[in-house]
């Protein structure tokens, strides 16, 4: 399916070649085929399955996809700067993965529910999450800065792959909602919903990914597994996680697996829309492997120079997801200098908004942690809160810095 691209994971070391030969021997076919519609040269190719989906993307929509990618890249730069300036404890950059995230996120429908891992800032943008809210977690003022019920974009999950099971369970709930609605004859808005579970090449080794695919397969759950293979799990390359293309693993679970050029926003959008349609139609799960690259560090605490060559990074920069869309839009006369200037200005405005808002993100009162540990009243929590109140009251009138808890009594009224 799709354009057949070189199967190499890492451009041809002997070890890679041997692994691929092994994989081909086992599977009886070339191990890696990758769907690509818009190449790095900005030329649009054809695919018998996915071109019809790509054709649904209007010029205006394509300009929108570009604008989204540019916005989230600018946001990424700003968030990295905020971390360097001490405004954030940590940042998890996404640069290089814009097409994988924007393309898939924009293919989702409002009634769909998204379970991200922790790098899906681009998907968050497509789900209308306030990007300043997204920074709460990295500023240390919340473990989840947004209400998932508002956007159907779940909280970030830091324990790798745990969310893939939540996604499958959620999809099993959608199936039951459909039956309950059918039984009662009442139309249930959102009953044609599907779920996307994001994870990465590193997390693909976690047992929860295996279990989630087994459950999804057993119950034919309407879930799309979206694996961003960004080639590096912190310092460990993908070929330590797998000796076959990750998309091929779907075969073992009995559902389709598709490797898509994760730097091609048109192909990612088309493939994801196809997969969501597949799930919505009751045909079960799909695994999408978006073949992409983490151009930056794993987090702002990481140093990629210790484990990879700059030549590799340069090779991937040549496949930049934004540059190819710009080439296409310009060559087809679909966008002019004015458009790109506007995109840049909008990005700067977003960055300024995020910077301004981050400074103003208020530090919560620890009382909210007492309040939210349990949904129902809990005697131990009440007892410890009462103790804390009495203790904090002992600092009344002192300068805030004098309070031992870091939550001085002076803040009690906030």
């Amino acid at each position: 399916m799709g354009a057949h691209l070189p199967a190499t994971e890492f451009d041809g070391t002997a070890v890679d070649d041997q692994r691929e030969a092994d994989a081909e021997a086992v599977m009886g076919e070339p191990p890696a085929q990758m769907v690509q519609l818009l190449g790095p040269d900005g030329k649009l190719g054809l695919d018998p399955v996915f071109t019809p989906y790509a054709e649904k993307i209007s010029p205006e929509a394509l300009r929108g996809l570009y604008a989204d990618m540019a916005a989230i890249r600018r946001f990424d730069v700003e968030a990295t700067a905020l971390q360097r300036q001490g405004q954030l404890a940590l940042w998890v950059p996404l640069t290089g993965q814009e097409a994988a995230q924007i393309g898939s996120g924009r293919a989702s429908q409002p009634q769909d529910y998204i379970f991200p891992t922790y790098r899906e800032h681009g998907v968050a943008l497509t789900r209308n999450v306030d990007l300043a809210e997204l920074l709460r977690q990295f500023r240390g003022v919340s473990n989840g800065g947004w209400n998932p019920k508002d956007t159907n974009f779940h909280l970030y999950t830091l324990v790798l792959a745990a969310q893939t099971l939540h996604a499958v369970g959620y999809a099993m709930g959608i199936q039951r909602d459909q039956k309950l609605a059918g039984a009662s004859g009442t139309p249930d808005t959102g009953q044609d919903a599907a779920v996307i579970a994001y994870f990465g090449d590193g997390a693909s080794s976690e047992g929860d990914v295996h279990e989630s695919m087994v459950f999804a397969s057993s119950y034919n759950a309407p879930v799309v597994f979206f694996c961003q293979n960004n080639h590096w799990a912190i310092s460990v390359p993908t070929n330590v996680q797998t000796r076959v293309p990750l998309s091929n693993r779907a075969k073992g679970y009995g559902f389709p697996g598709i490797r898509v050029d994760g730097n091609d926003v048109i192909a990612v959008h088309a493939v994801t829309e196809w997969a969501l349609e597949h799930a919505r139609q009751g045909k079960g799960p799909v695994l999408i492997e978006a073949f992409t690259y983490r151009v930056g560090a794993h987090t702002t605490a990481d140093d990629p120079t210790k484990y990879r060559q700059s030549a590799e990074e340069d090779a991937w920069r040549a496949k930049d997801p934004l540059a190819r869309v710009e080439k296409y839009l310009r060559s087809e006369g679909l966008a002019d200098d004015g458009f790109f200037a506007k995109v840049k200005a909008d990005g700067d405005e977003l960055a300024a908004y995020v910077r301004r808002t981050t400074h103003d993100l208020e530090t919560p009162d620890i009382r909210s942690a007492f309040a939210n540990t349990y949904a129902e009243a809990h005697p131990l929590v009440a007892e410890e809160l009462a103790w804390f109140e009495e203790y904090a009251a002992g600092f009344a009138g002192e300068e805030p810095a004098a309070a031992a808890s870091g939550q001085p009594a002076a803040k009690a009224g906030h």
Binding site: Y113, S142, N143, G144, N147, P148, K149, H154, L155, T157, V159, A162, T164, L165, H166, A167, V168, G169, Y170, A171, M172, G173, I174, Q175, R176, D177, K179, L180, G207, D208, E211, S212, V214, F215, S218, S368, A369, A371, N372, T373, Y374, A375, E376, H378, P379, L380
Partner: protein, 326 residues
């Protein structure tokens, strides 16, 4: 009043829940046509169908993880873990995800998942089938843990667990599954709050706190002590998290002596927590140190020697002698 076993009482409690709440469902290994390895879900798949009594793949993390997703979609999953020692593949989902979801969402999300775990020894089984891991979960904020010791409580507590907005683990005393007792299916009566301890027997010389499988042992020990003229108060803790310290404190203020008995190892266990809290709350009432009766600091031993490991009547009486010697 109806007489039934604990296993049957849980079965009836689940049946009542499934009948009442269309969003409730059961999930677990072999819980469908087989009715579970202990037959606790016997007959339910026939009544409610495979979408509500779900035989799952053999994967505990998968069971808990998908239950979390179902709860996020508005469902009330009741998961069965086949044996105590097999909960650990699901431990990550329980402690890092289920327990924290409400807190980390700033209260926006609730995950009312119930996890049923048959626990404890005394059935002569192979390894991993006789453990009491409740302290590992009690240490995790966000979870509630209850354990019935009789059929009436079993019938009501499983239903109360499903109705709770928080995740609840129900530890079921597996060697008491066949214990019979009266169940009032019309009213929970004094069992209306699953997080309250019950004083089962009044006494003045010492208090014995037990829960789950050791409650009948504690009552038998109290009876034996009575023959020696010692008046022992027995408390069925019922809830391990939260612990009803008010009831325990009031008892100790009356008796002045406290023994806590559980099958789990004493080191780092629930008994230690109770001893510490009671020493803070009732220090001036205590006539003796709080004494723990429990398992040893070893992996649960092989079946042929488990009688030497498990607290029994004599172990509780020995502790009582020590408490009364001060």
């Amino acid at each position: 009043m109806t007489t039934m076993t604990i296993a049957k009482a849980i079965n009836e409690g689940l049946r009542a829940t499934l009948s009442r709440n269309p969003k409730s469902l059961l999930m677990g290994e072999d819980i469908g046509p087989l009715g579970g390895v202990y037959r606790v879900t016997d007959g339910l798949i026939g009544e409610f169908g495979p979408d509500r009594v779900v035989d799952t793949p053999l994967a505990e993390s998968g069971i808990i993880g998908t239950a979390i997703g179902l709860a996020l979609r508005g469902y009330r999953p009741v998961c069965e873990i086949q044996f105590d020692g097999f909960v650990f593949p699901g431990f990550n989902q329980i402690t890092t995800q289920l327990a924290k979801m409400h807190a980390r969402s700033n209260g926006n999300l609730t995950v009312p998942v119930v996890i049923r775990i048959p626990y404890g020894g005394g059935i002569g089984s192979v390894e991993h089938h006789s453990e009491s891991p409740e302290a590992l979960f009690a240490h995790t904020a966000g979870l509630r843990i209850i354990t019935p010791s009789n059929p009436h409580d079993a019938y009501w507590m499983i239903q109360q667990a499903v109705e709770c907005q928080d995740p609840v683990i129900v530890f079921e005393p597996k060697r008491r599954y066949w214990l019979k007792g009266d169940v009032d299916i019309e009213s929970p009566g004094p069992s209306g709050d699953p997080f309250k301890a019950h004083v089962l027997r009044s006494g003045t010389d010492a208090t014995v706190v037990a829960y789950g499988p050791l409650v009948p042992v504690a009552l038998a020990a109290a009876n034996a002590a009575a023959e020696d003229g010692r008046s022992v108060e027995v408390i069925d803790l019922r809830s391990i998290s939260p612990i009803d310290f008010d009831t325990v404190t009031a008892s100790v203020q009356k008796t002045g002596r406290l023994i806590v008995a559980h099958e789990a190892p004493t080191f780092g266990g629930i008994g230690g927590e109770i001893a510490a809290r009671i020493s803070e709350r009732a220090f001036h009432s205590l006539e003796a140190p709080v004494i723990r009766v429990g398992g040893f600091h070893m992996p649960y031993p092989v079946a042929k020697v488990e009688e030497d490991y498990l607290p029994d009547i004599d172990r509780i009486l020995e502790a009582l002698d020590r408490a009364l010697s001060y």
